[in-house]
C-alpha cells in the first residue's frame, strides 16, 4: 500500500459523501436520476474505501490526514480500531438509509436540499469517527449539529420548526460547553491527539481538580447529543422529522456521535485508569444508569410509536456510556459492541415505524392491531429489532447485554446487574405489547390512512428492503458474534489495544 494513500484515505472517506453532497445542492429539483446516482455513488465509494481501511487497520496500518489550521491547531483524520468500528457502522447504515430515504421522499418537494444536508450529515459523522484529536472532533460535532438542523426542520410545518428550534437550543448550548472544555483542556495539556490509553495520565496531579471540572463540561457537551438525562429533552421533540432522519438521528449520527465522544474522551483523552481514579467513571455510570431506567419508564407510557422508540433510544444509548463507565475490558467490549448493535436494531425499528406511517398512516401503538397480517415482512423486521432490544438470544442485543453483565461482575460493579435486569424487564414491557398487538390482534376495518396499495409487495420496494437488510444484520451479528470481523470481535480488538498498552 502506498504512503500517499495512507495520508489520504481518511480524508477521502470524509470527502466521498461531502463532494456528492455539495453537488446535490446544485442538482435540478426534478433530476431524480442524477441525484440518486450521486447519492449511491457516494455511498458505495465510501463503503469500498472503508473496506480498505478495515483491512489496513486490522493489520496495524497507520492512516492519518493532517491539515494545519493554525499554530497548535491541526485538523487530523486518523484511523484506529475504534474509529473503524464507528465509520463502518455509519457507512453501512448510510447506504441503507439513503435507499430508504429515496423511497420515502418520493414526490415530495425540496429533495435536493434534503439529500444535500443528508450527505453533509454523514460526512460529519464520518469525520467524528475519524477525528484524530479533540479539535477535529469538536469541529465535526458542530458541523453535525448544523447539518441535521435543516433535516429536522425539513417538513416546514410549525411542529417541525418548533422541534428544530428545541434541537438547536440543546445542541448549540452543549456545543458551547464542549468547546469551552476542549479549549481549557488544550491549554493544560497541549494538542489533544487521541492516543489509546489517554494522554493526561502523565501530567502533574495538581491539575487533577481542573481535569474533573473539564470532564463535567465535556460530558455536558457530549451528553446533549447522547441524550443523557437531564439533557435528553430534544430527542422526543425532534420526532417530527421524516422517518429516515429519525433513523439517522437515533441510530447512526447524532446520539451515536455523543456516545462515541464519551468513549473517546474516557479512553483516549483521559485514559480509563485516570478517569477511574478521579471518580469520573462513577459519575458517568450513575448518569447512565439513571438515563437507562428513566428512558425505559417514559417509553412505557408513550402511545405514539415514534415517541416510544425515541425514549427507548434515550435508554439504550446509555448502555454504551454504562459499558464505558465500568473499569475492565469485558464491560468495554459490551459498551462498544452496543454502539453497533443498538444502531442496527434501532434503525430497523425506525424504518418499520416509517413504513407503517407511510403505508397505512399508523402513528400510534394503539392503531397497530393486526398490522402483522397486512405488512408481515415489515412486522417481522420490527419484531427482530424489538426482541433484540429486549436482549433475547440469539439476536444482537443479547450479546451486548451479556458482555455488559459479565463486565460488571468482572469490574466489581454488581449494582449494574440490577440496572440491566430492571431495564430488560422494562424493555420487554414496552415492546412485547406492540408485538402482541401486531401479530395476534385482529386488524381493523380500515387503516387510518392507506396510501400505498397492496400489490405484489406490501409497500414500496425501497421502503421494504432496508429494514429487512438491517433486521438480517441484527440476527447475523448475534449468531456469528464470534466470527472474524464481527462487531464483537472488533470490539474485543479495541479493548485489547486499550488495556494491554
Amino acid at each position: 500500500m502506498s504512503s500517499a494513500l495512507d495520508t489520504l484515505l481518511p480524508l477521502l472517506i470524509v470527502c466521498s459523501s461531502l463532494v456528492p453532497g455539495a453537488a446535490i445542492f446544485l442538482v435540478r429539483e426534478d433530476s431524480h436520476l442524477l441525484r440518486t446516482s450521486l447519492n449511491m455513488a457516494g455511498a458505495l465509494t465510501k463503503l469500498a474505501l472503508v473496506g480498505v481501511m478495515i483491512w489496513g487497520v486490522y493489520h496495524e496500518h497507520d492512516y492519518e490526514s493532517r491539515i494545519s489550521l493554525a499554530p497548535g491547531l491541526d485538523l487530523v483524520f486518523a484511523a484506529d480500531a475504534l474509529s473503524v468500528l464507528f465509520v463502518t457502522l455509519s457507512s453501512v447504515l448510510w447506504l441503507v438509509t439513503t435507499i430508504y430515504a429515496i423511497g420515502y421522499l418520493e414526490r415530495t418537494p425540496n429533495r435536493s436540499r434534503f439529500f444535500g444536508f443528508f450527505s453533509l450529515c454523514v460526512s460529519a459523522t464520518v469525520g467524528i469517527a475519524l477525528a484524530g484529536n479533540l479539535l477535529t472532533f469538536v469541529i465535526c460535532y458542530e458541523i453535525l449539529t448544523l447539518a441535521t438542523y435543516p433535516l429536522v426542520a425539513h417538513r416546514g410545518t410549525p411542529e417541525a420548526t418548533r422541534g428544530a428550534r428545541i434541537y438547536l437550543y440543546y445542541t448549540v448550548g452543549g456545543g458551547a460547553l464542549l468547546l469551552l472544555g476542549a479549549v481549557w483542556l488544550q491549554t493544560l495539556a497541549g494538542p489533544l491527539d487521541f492516543v489509546q490509553g489517554g494522554i493526561l495520565g502523565d501530567l502533574p496531579a495538581t491539575l487533577h481538580g481542573q481535569f474533573q471540572v473539564i470532564f463535567v463540561l465535556l460530558l455536558a457537551g457530549l451528553g446533549v447529543k447522547a441524550a443523557l438525562v437531564p439533557l435528553h429533552g430534544w430527542l422526543p421533540q425532534s420526532m417530527v422529522a421524516p422517518a429516515p432522519v429519525s433513523a439517522l438521528l437515533h441510530a447512526v449520527a447524532v446520539v451515536k456521535a455523543g456516545a462515541f465522544g464519551i468513549v473517546r474522551v474516557v479512553y483516549d483523552v483521559y485514559g480509563v485508569g485516570l478517569a477511574d481514579a478521579l471518580g469520573l467513571l462513577a459519575l458517568l455510570g450513575a448518569l447512565a444508569s439513571v438515563t437507562i431506567l428513566y428512558g425505559s419508564l417514559r417509553a412505557l407510557v408513550q402511545d405514539g410509536l415514534k415517541s416510544r422508540l425515541a425514549y427507548s433510544t434515550v435508554s439504550q444509548v446509555s448502555y454504551i456510556a454504562l459499558g464505558t463507565s465500568i473499569f475492565g475490558p469485558i464491560a468495554t467490549v459490551g459498551g462498544l459492541v452496543h454502539l453497533v448493535h443498538q444502531g442496527i436494531m434501532k434503525i430497523t425499528l425506525f424504518f418499520c415505524a416509517g413504513n407503517y406511517a407511510e403505508t397505512l398512516g399508523i402513528h400510534r401503538v394503539s392503531q397497530m392491531d393486526g398490522v402483522g397480517r397486512r405488512m408481515p415482512w415489515t412486522t417481522l423486521a420490527f419484531s427482530a429489532g424489538a426482541l433484540g432490544m429486549i436482549g433475547i438470544p440469539p439476536l444482537a442485543g443479547f450479546v451486548s447485554k451479556w458482555y455488559l453483565g459479565l463486565g460488571a461482575i468482572d469490574g466489581g460493579a454488581d449494582w449494574v446487574l440490577a440496572v440491566l435486569a430492571a431495564s430488560g424487564l422494562l424493555n420487554a414491557a414496552y415492546f412485547l405489547p406492540i408485538l402482541y398487538r401486531a401479530w395476534f390482534r385482529p386488524p381493523p376495518e380500515h387503516w387510518p390512512e392507506e396510501r400505498i396499495a397492496r400489490r405484489r409487495l406490501e409497500t414500496r420496494a425501497a421502503l421494504l428492503w432496508p429494514p429487512l437488510i438491517t433486521a438480517t444484520l441484527c440476527l447475523l451479528a448475534g449468531l456469528f458474534a464470534a466470527a472474524p470481523f464481527s462487531p464483537l470481535e472488533w470490539a474485543e480488538l479495541i479493548a485489547r489495544r486499550e488495556y494491554d498498552r
Binding site: E29, D30, A70, P71, P109, C140, T157, T161, L180
Partner: protein, 481 residues
C-alpha cells in the same frame, strides 16, 4: 521598492476617474478597474509572501520628510480580503441597481471608497491616515445615501457628521504628536513614543476618533441606521470593509507604534468596550425586526470581538504566542468581512424580491431563493463562529489565550456572544423552512446571487480550512512600521 503598493491605491482612483468621465460606460470601465485593482493586490500579496513586509516611499523622499506605504503580512491579508469582497460587490451591484442612473452614480464613488480602503490599509503616516479617513467618510456617506429615501439621507448625514467629528478628534491627536515629536511617520514614531502624559493623551484622541469610525461600543449609535438603510451592496461594503479598516487602524496603533504607551489597564478598558459591544450588538440583533438592521447590529458585535484581543496581545512579547493571537485576530476580521458582505448581499436579494426585509414575513421569499438562503445560512455560521468557519478558529485561539493568561473573564462575552448570535441567525433561518413552492434551480439570478455565495463559502470553508496559510504570511515579521 515595489510598485504594487502605490498601484493598489492608484488603480481604483484611475477607475473612479474613468467612470466619472464616461458615465455611459461606467459598468464596463468599473469592472475593468475592479479586476485590475484585484490583480495588483494579488501581486502585492505574492510580494509579501515571498519577500516579507514591503515598504514603498513616495515622491522619491524617504521618511520623515516623505510619505511611505507599508504592507506586512496582516495588511496583505486584509487587502486581499478587501479585493475579493470588493470584486464580489462590484459584480453584484450590476444586478442590484436596476436604475442605470443609480449605477452610474455608484461606480465612481465606489471606486473612490475602494481606493480609500487600500490607502488606509497601506498607510504608514499619521496625517496620511487622516486624509484617507476623510476620503473614506465622504465617499461612504455619499454611497449610503444612494438609497434615496428620507431614512437613508438622515442616516447618511449623521454618518457624515460623526465621521467628521471622528476625523477632527483624530487630527487633534496628530497635532499633539507633532508637537511632541515633530514626526508623522509611524515607523519612526515607534522608536520615540513611550509612556507619558502627552503620548497617552494623543493616543486617546487618535483612538477616540478611530473608535467613532469603527463603531466601537458605545460610539456605535450611528451605525445601525446607516447600514440598514443604504443599498445592499453599499451596506456590504460599509459593514465588511469600512468599519474594519478603522478598527484595524486602531488596533494597529495600539499593538504597533504605540505599544510602549499602552498600559494593561487601558488595554483592559478597550477589551471591556469590545465585550460590551459584543453583548449589546448581539442582543439588539436578536431584537431587530428587519433583516438588514439585524445584520447592522451584528456588525457592532463583530467589531467588538476584535477588541477582546487587545488585553491578551498587549502583554505578550514578540514570539510564536503573539503571532498566533495576531493571526486569530486577523482571522476573525477576515471571516467577518467575507461573511457580513455575503449576508448583506443576500439580504438585498431577499429585500428586492419581497419588497421588504421584515423578518417575520420572509418565509416564502426565502424558500423561493435557495442560493440566497444558503448564503444567509453560511454567512450566519461564520457570524456565530461555528466550525469550520475562520471565526471558529479565531475564537478557539482567543479562548485558549484567555484561559492560558488567567484572564478567564473574557470567556463570558465570547460564549454569550456566540449563543446570542446563534439565536439571531437561526431566528432568520428558521423562516426558510416552510411549505411554499420551491424553484427548480438552486441559483436563480447568477450575477446577483453568486458573488454572495462565493464570499460566504470563503468565510466558512476557505478561511476555516486554509487558515494555516495566514500564519505563513504573518511568519516573517509582525506589525512593525
Amino acid at each position: 521598492m515595489n510598485a504594487s503598493l502605490p498601484l493598489a491605491v492608484c488603480l481604483p482612483l484611475l477607475g473612479a476617474l474613468a467612470t466619472t468621465l464616461a458615465p455611459a460606460r461606467a459598468r464596463a470601465l468599473g469592472l475593468i478597474a475592479a479586476l485590475a485593482s484585484s490583480g495588483v493586490v494579488l501581486w502585492l500579496v505574492v510580494g509579501v509572501w515571498e519577500q516579507g513586509p514591503l515598504r514603498a516611499s513616495l515622491g522619491g523622499w524617504s521618511a520623515p520628510l516623505g510619505i511611505a506605504l507599508a504592507a506586512d503580512g496582516a495588511v496583505a491579508a486584509l487587502l486581499a480580503m478587501t479585493a475579493m469582497v470588493a470584486l464580489a460587490i462590484s459584480i453584484h451591484a450590476g444586478g442590484y441597481f436596476r436604475d442605470p442612473e443609480r449605477l452610474r452614480q455608484f461606480w465612481p464613488l465606489w471606486l473612490l471608497l475602494w481606493a480609500a480602503l487600500n490607502a488606509l490599509f497601506l498607510a504608514a503616516d499619521l496625517f496620511n491616515i487622516y486624509v484617507g479617513l476623510e476620503l473614506l467618510g465622504l465617499s461612504g456617506a455619499a454611497l449610503a445615501a444612494l438609497g434615496g429615501g428620507r431614512a437613508a439621507l438622515t442616516a447618511s448625514l449623521r454618518y457624515l457628521l460623526v465621521g467628521l467629528l471622528g476625523s477632527m478628534t483624530y487630527l487633534l491627536g496628530v497635532a499633539l504628536i507633532y508637537a511632541a515629536h515633530g514626526q508623522l511617520d509611524l515607523a519612526l514614531l515607534g522608536t520615540r513614543l513611550g509612556p507619558g502624559l502627552v503620548d497617552a493623551t494623543a493616543l486617546a484622541l487618535l483612538s477616540l476618533g478611530l473608535a467613532l469610525k469603527a463603531a466601537l461600543f458605545p460610539l456605535h449609535f450611528w451605525l445601525p441606521p446607516t447600514h440598514a438603510n443604504a443599498p445592499a451592496p453599499v451596506s456590504a461594503a460599509l459593514s465588511a470593509l469600512v468599519g474594519k479598516v478603522a478598527a484595524w487602524l486602531l488596533l494597529m496603533l495600539w499593538l504597533g507604534p504605540f505599544a510602549a504607551v499602552t498600559q494593561p489597564a487601558a488595554a483592559t478598558l478597550l477589551g471591556l468596550l469590545g465585550a460590551c459591544g459584543v453583548i449589546w450588538g448581539s442582543w439588539r440583533a436578536l431584537r431587530a425586526e428587519r433583516l438588514k438592521l439585524l445584520a447592522a447590529h451584528s456588525t457592532v458585535a463583530q467589531i467588538g470581538y476584535l477588541f477582546l484581543f487587545v488585553p491578551l496581545i498587549q502583554g505578550l512579547d514578540p514570539g510564536p504566542e503573539r503571532t498566533a493571537l495576531l493571526g486569530a485576530l486577523l482571522l476573525m476580521a477576515l471571516t467577518h468581512g467575507f461573511a457580513k458582505a455575503a449576508f448583506f448581499l443576500a439580504a438585498g436579494q431577499v429585500q428586492q424580491l419581497a419588497g421588504h426585509d421584515r423578518i417575520d414575513a420572509l418565509g416564502g421569499t426565502a424558500q423561493r431563493l435557495p442560493a440566497t438562503t444558503f448564503t444567509l445560512g453560511l454567512a450566519g455560521v461564520a457570524l456565530i463562529g461555528l466550525p469550520p468557519s475562520g471565526s471558529f478558529i479565531g475564537k478557539w485561539l482567543l479562548l485558549e489565550a484567555a484561559i492560558d493568561q488567567g484572564q478567564w473573564w473574557w470567556i463570558l462575552p465570547v460564549l454569550a456572544g456566540t449563543l446570542l448570535a446563534a439565536a439571531y441567525v437561526f431566528r432568520v433561518l428558521a423562516r426558510a423552512f416552510n411549505q411554499e413552492p420551491t424553484p427548480l434551480h438552486f441559483v436563480t439570478q447568477v450575477r446577483a446571487e453568486l458573488p454572495g455565495l462565493v464570499l460566504a463559502l470563503l468565510a466558512v470553508a476557505g478561511l476555516g480550512l486554509a487558515a494555516g496559510g495566514l500564519w505563513g504570511l504573518l511568519e516573517p515579521v509582525e506589525i512593525d512600521r
